[in-house]
Chain length 380, copies 2
């Protein structure tokens, strides 16, 4: 029996790890010690002109594994495999795609689960706060190491879109296109509130031990599971949840039991929480929610987003989804309006999609078309 991957897949992928010999000064005032590592994957081939590279930035719980398979036994491809591959919107026949795990992550790059070289112990709670700006600087160093002076495009959804926007602000000469999908120029009070609930769920778990749970040979599973449940609700639209589950019962009839699930949606959420808490690091989750909270590039210009974007040179492409209530179309339009006010090139599309925020990960014909058309026009 021959096992093969789908034709439009990038196929078998081997993650790479790069170590950096200079410490990284962080926005929080602390320094990440020299020797920190970034794990990344690449798909496609860097052309001799080095002008066909695309950077993919991940969202809250994402990682470097955006496309392809890590083994022939892999049941699932990378998280954005719907959009990255030969003849897919981000066409690996044409582009050299780089996808990394951000610092503070728990999938290979230096983060709370890594050993702190200064103490010889796991960082745990002592890992410093990392911000979107820090990530962009670290990504720029990765680009340097890969010989990429300028990205054809930096692309990301949600928190990933914030990184793309920050790239255009921090390194205007180092990208030609900025594609921010289902993103926002900063979190709203409600967004922060949901993050705070998630954080409180984690830190109040008695197995959290102030973030040093590894030393206690435990994991704050309940807290992390709860955090994921809350997050998950905000990723789906009310309609999507209604269509998927409605009020369908778990069993044939109601049991009038307070502890067991009655409805399918409860069962689904519990599963999501449990599955996630078995594979993700609680300290990383805290860091990622904080990075979201802190992102607010316009704060350096008294909230004036147009002024903040006045030095960007990249062409912008914003995509939003009608039923996304985490980062609604209105949030993308704030960015579009600011870019227009700053006299910049910007295209915008609002995709009619019932899936809510999660739509940015899902195969949606109009969205596929929208990305394909834009990326095909990028000259290389």
């Amino acid at each position: 029996m021959t096992i093969s991957f789908p034709k439009d897949s990038v196929g078998l992928v081997i993650p790479q790890t790069m170590a950096f010999n200079e410490p990284l000064m962080l926005v929080c005032g602390k320094e990440l010690a020299a020797g920190y590592q970034i794990t990344y994957e690449t798909y496609g081939i860097l052309n001799p002109e080095c002008n066909n590279a695309i950077l993919i930035c991940h969202a809250l719980s994402g990682n470097h594994h955006a496309a392809g398979y890590h083994s022939y036994e892999d049941r699932k491809p990378g998280w954005w495999d719907n959009y990255i591959g030969p003849n897919k919107p981000i066409d690996t026949n044409r582009f050299f795609v780089v996808s990394l795990n951000n610092l503070g992550g728990c999938n290979g790059s230096t983060g709370p689960t890594s050993i702190n070289p200064k103490t010889g112990k796991v960082y745990g709670a002592s890992f410093p706060i990392v911000t979107v700006e820090d990530w962009v600087h670290s990504q720029a160093r990765l680009a340097d190491s890969l010989g990429i002076k300028q990205w054809a495009a930096v692309i990301g959804g949600s928190l990933g879109g914030m990184q793309a926007i920050q790239w255009a602000i921090t390194y205007p000469d180092r990208l030609r296109h900025c594609i921010a999908i289902a993103s926002a120029p900063k979190l709203s009070a409600q967004n922060i509130a949901f993050n705070e609930v998630a954080r409180q769920a984690i830190v109040s778990d008695p197995d959290f031990f102030d973030g040093n749970f590894t030393e206690h040979n435990t994991v704050p599973k309940h807290g992390l599971g709860l955090a994921r449940m809350v997050g998950h609700i905000t990723y789906l639209s009310d309609d999507a949840m209604g269509q998927k589950f409605g009020r369908d019962l778990k069993n044939e009839k109601l049991n009038y039991d307070i502890y067991n699930v009655e409805f399918q949606v409860e069962s689904y959420l519990r599963y999501q929480g449990e599955e996630f808490s078995g594979r993700f690091d609680a300290n990383t989750y805290l860091l990622m929610t904080k990075a979201l909270d802190y992102f607010d590039p316009a704060s350096k210009h008294q909230g004036d987003l147009a002024k903040t974007l006045s030095e960007v040179t990249a062409n912008f492409y914003l995509i939003s989804f009608t039923t996304d209530w985490r980062f609604s179309p209105a949030r993308s339009k704030e960015i579009v309006d600011a870019l227009i006010a700053a006299d910049k090139n910007v295209s915008y599309i609002e995709v009619d999609a019932p899936q809510g925020h999660d739509a940015f990960l899902i195969k949606i014909p109009r969205y596929q078309e929208a990305l394909t058309t834009y990326l095909q026009r990028i000259a290389i």
Copy 2:
């Protein structure tokens, strides 16, 4: 110094308690033992014709104390004091208003914090599941005891509105008007999902002890606080939170600290959670969320709400608020549409209000007018 109450207040109120000598058969199949009690308050005077009585039904964390003050030292009046009092929309010069704490509650009526006469111990987790139907039956018994054969109106917001609707279905002859505010004919999958998060937060608190925390001399404060935080977010609109807090900082500048609050909205939410967990019972909270989940009167008619409402005789008045995303105007319109399809009398108003679901508790001129006008027309 003379201390006095505002002129339009019902003034000093003394809660009453009534015990019932017959057991109450519950929808869940269990029986609430004879001797159960209901705590209630009344405002105004029952007229000789006994046709001016109005029943107020409370929402998730409400109780019998809807108006007036319990002492001269009380800083805050009852939860719906904005709407109940002399010359207020629910005018106590004209109506005799009855407000009770529902069974399963923790403010005087028999609930998880009460002693189970069969065991001599606190009910705790053993308190049976109570539904909106059960509450309506218990409220009918209270009405019998008070000599009220027919309510001029049954009024409630949110979960209280569900009770008003259930009254019209279960006891069509016993109310002339049904006023359901910011309500819904049943929970959506998203509504249930938020309730499930709240419940999981409570039951996973190690101080919960399977609901028998009283025996362990403890209280699941963290879990209950978290549940309240999640709930609170859904009570406010995104805009209301934005206007109230925006991204205002707690301190002068960011501290880049993962454990302490950075933003005012975090501080506010934590306070809400802590304050609530100090005064509310965790088992009651679980019961109330379950009562919400189970409410679905149309399920007896294969989901046909118009058929479910075919026997009602009350006049209906539905009120919703534009920015309410917990029970949006669309949910009230489902009820309006079903009533029209069933050829019933129904009036509906959607009030433009920025406050979200919480609007039903707040003094809003248009809403005050809407209630006043309707209630003035009720013949007594």
